[in-house]
């Protein structure tokens, strides 16, 4: 399941809902991405006060569904969940939740990692940081593309 929303999410409730009524689930792996809080700790003395997440409605869902489908083709999964927030977020707030449920733990771990690696490079979200030194668009990491390519070459 895929959800794009401005509101926060309750990890415990989401996972409980994901596994409820499906007795063959042996394990759930989840990843929660948070807004890092650098208050006063940025190397350049910058203080980030908020983060704005922009996205491309329609394409976001399309890309996340494609990633979910690929994960389900690659591993034996019982349930998958991707929740991604958009709009303005404060330091320490939750940004993303990916959860995968499977009979066996390896499938759960690997697929959650796979979904995060592809989400980071394929899903059209952009972060803008607002700080005491002004606003700037976060630059993409080369390491994220490298992680995606590792999966493609497996």
């Amino acid at each position: 399941m895929i959800r794009i929303q401005t509101e926060d999410f309750d990890v415990g409730a989401e996972i409980k809902n994901l596994v409820s009524g499906k007795g063959n689930i042996g394990g759930v792996c989840s990843f929660i991405g948070l807004v890092r809080d650098f208050s006063g700790n940025e190397p350049n003395g910058e203080n980030i006060t908020s983060l704005t997440l922009e996205h491309y409605p329609g394409m976001t869902e399309k890309q996340l569904e494609k990633i979910e489908t690929q994960a389900r083709q690659r591993w034996d999964l019982i349930e998958t969940l991707i929740i991604h927030r958009v709009g303005q977020l404060q330091p320490s707030e939750q940004i993303v939740l990916v959860a995968t449920a499977a009979a066996h733990r390896d499938a759960a771990f690997e697929s959650a990692k796979f979904i995060m690696d592809f989400l980071k490079t394929e899903a059209p979200f952009w972060k803008k940081e607002l700080g005491n030194k002004g606003a700037k668009w976060v630059a993409a990491k080369q390491s994220d593309s490298a992680k995606k390519e590792t999966w493609e070459n497996e």
Binding site: K62, H84, E122, W126, A140
Partner: protein
């Protein structure tokens, strides 16, 4: 053709989206980028370095060599930074 701009491309062009006929002589994404760059002002700034820009046609990531038709939805944006 519907053209969308996101993140700093939206800021530099001062435009989120526009309806545009496929310009005469343009048949690929690269051609459209060249056309937009020559519009001047914020567009010249936004499209100054096309290596910084990623493109989707009909919500799929494509290369700049991708062909275009008048019914396409084309989006320009920087490399994604979600998650």
């Amino acid at each position: 053709m519907k053209v969308l701009y996101f993140a700093w491309l939206k800021e530099k062009t001062s435009l989120a989206e526009e309806d545009l006929p496929l310009p005469c002589g343009v048949s690929t994404v690269a051609g459209l980028m060249e056309y937009l760059k020559n519009r001047g002002g914020g567009f010249s700034d936004a499209f100054a370095d096309i290596t910084m820009i990623r493109v989707a046609v009909n919500m799929e990531h494509v290369q700049v060599s991708h062909p275009l038709s008048d019914s396409d939805e084309v989006a320009f944006f920087p490399p994604v930074t979600g998650g």
